[in-house]
Symmetry: C2
Subunit: 307 residues, 2 copies
């Protein structure tokens, strides 16, 4: 039975991951597994040990997963796209609130053969498969570019909270993979995560306005965790900054609390970002607003990845 049918049949069943339905913040234990395969067995890309670390922490960093030559190729492709104004005006892109510089380019696995190949690379898609143990598709992909001097912060959030409320992702069975295209230093706004936070679901206060995504990709206003719960999560799990060299791969669970500070240094910070979702976890109607977000943010026509 697909999850959608399950929800439809039990109308009385409350949404276990409801959020933005009133003015209350509330924590709930995660109901879903983190690693869906046998954590004691090596997978096609990850060892048993790595799967166990991912289960415990909600993320895994693989230093030097890609060679400097490979990274140079990705950056070449990035620069080609960023300079192609015709391409940019057609592709879904997000710009910095103040400077107008490109912050994100979406659907890179659809518009660039280089990044399509990267997404399907065994080191990435294979790792996602090891964790999710199901047929997979790409829920979202993007290039994040945090320019020097003016890169804005991204406040703490759980991706799943947004994907559930705004996109209709039913359960936690998705994983994100980020490949660092520049060195991520302490100073230039690296990804920061709260280890272990993926095991708690934080229901957020507020309601989702229509077309929220047009604002939320620049400055978040709803689905934002409260300070008290963030403080508690940090006290329990600490705080880790993924300050690694270009070519490193960061895998993280869809419900891991993460964010990044601004970047006033001259060093830009770029990475690619692919979200893999289980075919059994395809999107339903959004649990929050009536209208689903556009497809570049949330794939509506899943295409199964072949291994």
């Amino acid at each position: 039975m697909r999850i959608e049918q399950f929800y439809e049949r039990s109308e009385a069943l409350a949404d276990p991951y409801s959020s933005r339905v009133d003015d209350q913040y509330e924590t709930r234990a995660r109901l879903d597994p983190v690693v869906y395969s046998d954590p004691l067995k090596d997978g096609m890309a990850l060892t048993a040990e790595q799967k166990q670390a991912f289960e415990r922490d909600g993320f895994l960093i693989l230093d030097g997963a890609f060679t400097q030559d490979e990274v140079a190729g990705f950056n070449q492709e990035l620069n080609r796209m960023a300079r192609d104004s015709e391409f940019l005006s057609a592709a879904p892109t997000i710009t910095e609130p103040l400077s107008g510089e490109v912050r994100s380019i979406f659907e890179i696995h659809k518009v660039s053969p280089v990044f399509e190949k990267l997404a399907l690379d065994r080191r990435i898609a294979g790792a996602a498969r090891d964790i999710l143990n199901d047929d997979l598709y790409i829920h979202q992909s993007r290039l994040n570019y945090k320019p020097g001097f003016k890169g804005k912060e991204f406040f703490w959030h759980s991706d799943f909270e947004t994907w559930h409320v705004e996109d209709g992702m039913p359960r936690m069975r998705a994983v994100s993979a980020s490949i660092l295209l520049t060195d991520n230093r302490y100073q230039n706004g690296p990804l920061m995560v709260i280890p272990g936070s993926h095991k708690t679901y934080l229901k957020c206060a507020g309601r989702t306005p229509d077309d929220n995504y047009k604002r939320s990709l620049k400055v978040q206003e709803v689905g934002v965790p409260d300070q008290e719960n963030l403080r508690r999560m940090t006290e329990k799990g600490g705080l880790v900054a993924a300050t690694r060299e270009a070519g490193s791969l960061v895998l993280f669970d869809c419900n891991l609390m993460h964010g990044s500070a601004g970047n006033i240094t001259p060093f830009p910070r770029s990475n690619t970002f692919f979200v893999f979702n289980a075919m059994s976890n395809q999107l339903m109607k959004p649990f929050g607003p009536e209208k689903a977000r556009p497809e570049f943010l949330a794939e509506q026509r899943p295409k199964k990845i072949s291994f």
Copy 2:
């Protein structure tokens, strides 16, 4: 002859540190010494080696200059002031643009006996004396409080550029001392400096609007270095973040390029900040706007420090 007389007598002499007079950025070599005492001799607080490092880098970090007990006392005093609404409404304070939380309290050496004593401590005032080799007074003092979650960034700047243009500080003969009251971690927006940048003066483009300080203490708009020069300075000198434990002392030259990123972590970042100026370098009329900034930002009635 006091510097003021020198400027008055030579009307034809161009201001060597002019800035914000047209739309050009321009770098000039620093005309003034960095360390005014003999760099080969130990001083009352700094060794010859420390003075030489300061001369070369433009800053010096002294780990554990103050004990954890002393730091606890300073934080107690900080909390007492921050909770005293009567005091706060009377004292010059700056609040965060968005949250309204206290960001800075000024003139702490005048309003708090605890911080007056700290400013005059031989470890601080003595170190300033070793560097400036003159009678000294306190040009400015403040408590900086970067709250958790919402602490905003402070873009790169040279203090001297502002002090010269807006306050009328004639030459580079002032030093800042910052005592860390909380651990400054990589993640919570520590002070970042560009080593060696103090030896170049960067004339900035733009003009200073009236009462600029009311905005500039929150968000800087003029006296802001351009990206090209910042990039060049960083390529030459690198970038250092003063990520140290509470109780550490950071001394830095008035012309050192520095800034700090925002703070989305739950950990607040506090420090005290004292600026010592040479009595021979007292303020003249501002070189930029007609009207001088208020006295809490720029002391107009110097009181010589006794050693």
